[in-house]
């Protein structure tokens, strides 16, 4: 065991030395994984801050939307792209996060935001553990069917317990905006966007670091050939459940962010269409890489927007205008999958490789 | 004027992606001949059959003629109509269908229920073990029985040319001998032409009229079986004995 560890460290050190010789890019690659990701996250947060300072409140909210969708899709990437488990149920985990947030704000108003968010993550992880354990033996369409039932069934629980969960109207609450100390510098919407992105980037660092490490390798092994992975000694069932737990935690956190932004948690936000759109966005962006989640989230927010604008610009009636975004998204989905089966990230990688002359 | 060869292959090339699997293969088979295609693993024997039967697309410039008709670009499902039946490696029997259904499948493309029924009865006479297991799922058959079913299914189409890919693979020598004898009987009785791919070169050459030796997709030797058996150098180099 110790010798294999030494063997793994030696090449890493050699790579580090080699890349250090290649200038700033080399310097970047020679940093250990965690600090590298933290620095990248910090840079991204700064970028968001700049972006939201120079644009209006509406754009800030849209930027925040991209943020939590990115988190939800990235969590799904772990499950679908890295460990090969097709899940159609991510909407259900977002539902859990949103409602946990709403309930905590309503019933324990003194709790700070961080605690509320942590509670949402915990609830999501617990749900993920239960679902993962229940579905560990399922594959492909059987797993898809079970998670589909979850996505549609869980939000219906809100209707069953209307007193506690607000029924079809959902729960409403209000959260403090920017702290008074910063109220001059930072608008409410900008503050919210920054909070959401801070949370999202933190979670992404965890995701990225985990997927680089042993867990990530195990998951990819299972995705590529489960029987082979089992014979190689990888604890398949446990790894799959862990993937579910992390994915559910991310989804739940994303739902919490959404609730935080909107001040509501309603069952109608968590339709079947949401879960399907998350999966579709993931494939659109590109499986197998966390960057794919970014493109997917951007697509989710901006394609629908583009569809709306298109309908308005063409001066169409309200029926058409209301449904145009969804039709647009569906059509684009088909076109992109047929033209670029590896998604946007796949197309970009290929472009990058051809530019670098490889 | 002599009749055209039943199967003529000219300049046949094909590739899997970037890998050239067949290079300008030429082959002529006359009606009623049993021709062997030999060579080491990966030489291109299976690819040759697959390209002829339409499962693998040939490169431009290739030509395959069956009884004078150009069938080069035809898809696999059209080849039975031109009298070419292909039994792939392993037989290709459909495990979830019954023996009877597998047999029927072979003759489906011909119109006429009664004709198909009669043909099937013939096949079951030819292979009594299959008749006993008519209603069993093909997946429950032994290796030898499955190979018999595969050949029977191909014969249901009343082919003029039968392409056989390693029929003896995994089978006991006794069963292999029976299959070879069957082929010779068929040739004598119906003028069936057979192209036989075999790893077991010595065994194949003992029942065939002439042969073709492939190496890395190209023809390195051809001639009558007697000539090939006598060529020691070639045998050592390409056939391993």
């Amino acid at each position: 065991m110790a010798s294999s560890l030494r063997r793994k460290q030696a090449p890493a050190a050699a790579t580090a030395r080699a890349s250090a010789r290649r200038g700033p890019a080399g310097l970047w690659n020679s940093l250990p994984v965690l600090p590298r990701h933290l620095l990248a996250a910090l840079a991204a947060l700064a970028l968001v801050a700049v972006l939201t300072s120079v644009t209006d409140g509406l754009t800030a909210l849209r930027v925040a939307n991209v943020g939590y969708y990115l988190l939800a899709v990235a969590g799904l990437q772990l499950l679908v792209g890295f460990s090969g488990q097709i899940s159609l149920g991510n909407g259900a985990f977002m539902f859990i996060g949103a409602y946990t947030t709403a309930l905590m704000v309503l019933y324990t108003p003194m709790a700070p935001l961080a605690v509320v968010m942590l509670a949402a993550v915990a609830a999501g992880c617990l749900a993920g553990m239960l679902v993962g354990a229940a579905t560990a033996r399922l594959h492909g369409p059987y797993l898809a069917g079970a998670t589909l039932a979850l996505a549609v069934g869980l939000p219906a629980v809100a209707l069953r317990f209307p007193d506690l969960l607000g029924g079809s109207n959902g729960l409403f609450f209000s959260l403090r905006g920017a702290p008074p100390a910063l109220s001059g510098l930072v608008s409410d919407s900008q503050w919210k966007a920054l909070v959401v992105w801070f949370v999202v980037l933190l979670a992404l660092v965890v995701l990225a670091t985990t997927s680089r490490g042993r867990l990530g390798r195990r998951m990819r092994a299972i995705r590529d050939d489960e029987a082979a992975a089992a014979t190689a000694g990888i604890p398949v069932g446990r790894t799959k459940v862990v993937a579910f737990v992390i994915s559910a935690g991310c989804g739940s956190l994303a739902g919490a962010c959404q609730a935080y932004l909107l001040g509501t948690a309603t069952p109608s936000s968590f339709t079947l269409a949401l879960s399907l759109s998350l999966l579709a966005a993931l494939v659109l962006g590109g499986l197998g890489s966390l960057w794919g989640a970014l493109w997917g989230a951007l697509a989710l927010v901006y394609l629908e927007l583009a569809g709306e604008e298109l309908a308005h610009a063409m001066g169409l009636g309200s029926n058409v205008a209301n449904n145009a975004p969804v039709v647009f998204f569906g059509v684009i989905l088909i076109v992109i999958v047929m033209a670029w089966p590896l998604g946007v990230q796949g197309a970009l990688s290929r472009l990058g490789r051809s530019l670098r002359g490889r | 004027m002599t009749e055209p060869p039943i199967l003529r292959i000219e300049n046949l090339s094909t590739r899997y992606g970037a890998v050239r699997a067949l290079r300008s293969v030429n082959m002529t088979v006359r009606r009623g001949e049993i021709c062997a295609v030999l060579g080491a693993n990966g030489a291109g024997k299976t690819t040759l059959l697959r390209t002829v039967s339409g499962l693998q697309p040939p490169d431009p410039g290739s030509r395959v003629l069956v009884d004078g008709t150009d069938v080069t670009r035809l898809p696999a499902e059209a080849m039975v109509r031109h009298g070419v039946a292909h039994v792939p490696e392993g037989g290709g029997v459909i495990a979830e269908l019954t023996v009877e259904e597998n047999m029927r499948l072979g003759g489906l493309w011909r119109a006429g229920r009664r004709e198909r029924g009669a043909k099937a009865a013939e096949m079951f006479e030819l292979f009594p073990p299959l008749a006993e297991r008519r209603t069993r799922h093909a997946g429950t058959l032994s290796g030898g029985e499955r190979q018999m079913l595969a050949i029977g299914r191909a014969l249901m189409a009343r082919p003029r040319v039968l392409l056989l890919d390693e029929p003896s693979l995994g089978l006991a020598p006794l069963i292999t001998r029976r299959i070879m004898r069957l082929l010779q009987d068929l040739r004598a009785g119906t003028g069936l032409t057979v192209v036989l791919v075999e790893q077991n070169a010595a065994g194949a050459l003992s029942v065939t009229d002439h042969g073709l030796v492939l190496s890395q997709g190209a023809v390195v030797a051809s001639g009558s079986s007697g000539e090939l058996l006598a060529d020691d150098r070639m045998r050592h180099a390409y056939l391993g004995f």
Partner: protein
């Protein structure tokens, strides 16, 4: 006791609908190894067209015929134009294409006919314990199932379709036009899906009217094991009856979660569905 019998009969009537939708999903899965998420949307459009025809002609049955015909046509077009081109790529590609089609068609229905509810007629009188409408639904599904069985078992076309689905290469070598068989499979499956839509649409038709039924249809197909059309029918009936009990004794909002629970319980004992013969994986 009365309540129990009511629930059982109701469950069987609903189960027939889930069975039909499950059947259409399994036929497509067997033929092309794709879960057709667009099936409810194809059925939805077929039902809307039937509604338009019904409004124009006043005849329910003309509309019914139009639904079946248009369902078949749309299934054929979907396979030929959208699914065939992505054949052979990763299975997720085909799933996403069907998802895109689902979203696009549901949205299109909203665009053309609006998001509101239309009052949609039953095939027959729907009142009573086991209404004529319920009996019709059960009867229609039973007839379809028998016809399908006869097709597969006794006709050359059925044999070709099965061969094309089970072992396309061998089928081609026996002269079967595999592509055509796959298209035919989609056409038949979509016709059955349109039937399910016509049975499920009453009393109100809207773009989301078939969502819940779709979930139960998938559950029925998965329960039965995606390899067996008749497993889907059995799965659908079982699910219908089970969910009817849940709805009657615990509340209608919990039916989908109950479906999930049933799925999880059954699949944990038989991960490939109730009626699939276990196939050993060769390592």
């Amino acid at each position: 006791m009365n309540h129990f019998i009511d629930l059982t009969l109701n469950g069987i009537a609903n189960g027939a609908i889930y069975a039909a939708l499950g059947l259409s999903l399994v036929i497509i899965y067997q033929a092309t190894r794709v879960v057709n998420f667009a099936q409810p949307a194809l059925a939805l459009i077929a039902v809307y067209l039937a509604y338009a025809v019904y409004l124009a002609t006043g005849s329910y049955w003309t509309g019914f015929a139009v639904a079946l015909a248009s369902g078949t046509l749309m299934g054929v077009l979907a396979e030929r134009l959208l699914i065939r081109p992505v054949h052979g790529r990763s299975p997720l590609s085909a799933i996403i294409v069907t998802l895109g089609l689902l979203l696009a068609l549901q949205g299109a229905a909203g665009m053309v006919w609006g998001n509101g509810d239309y009052s949609f007629p039953y095939p027959m009188d729907f009142r009573g314990r086991f209404s004529p409408a319920g009996a019709f639904g059960l009867g229609a599904v039973a007839v379809v199932t028998l016809l399908l069985f006869a097709l597969y078992r006794f006709t050359p076309l059925g044999l070709r379709m099965r061969a094309a689905a089970l072992h396309p290469e061998s089928a081609r070598l026996s002269g079967v036009r595999v592509g055509l068989m796959l298209t035919a499979g989609w056409g038949i499956a979509s016709a059955i899906g349109a039937l399910a839509g016509m049975l499920a649409a009453p009393p109100f038709l809207s773009p989301n009217a078939l969502d819940a039924v779709f979930v139960y249809g998938i559950a029925a197909a998965v329960l039965g094991g995606l390899e067996s059309p008749f497993g889907a029918v059995a799965g659908g009936l079982l699910l219908g009856v089970g969910l009817s009990y849940v709805s009657g004794y615990a509340g209608p909002e919990l039916t989908t979660l109950a479906a999930l629970a049933i799925l999880v319980v059954v699949l944990s004992v038989r991960p490939d569905g109730l009626f699939t013969r276990p196939v050993a994986r060769k390592v």
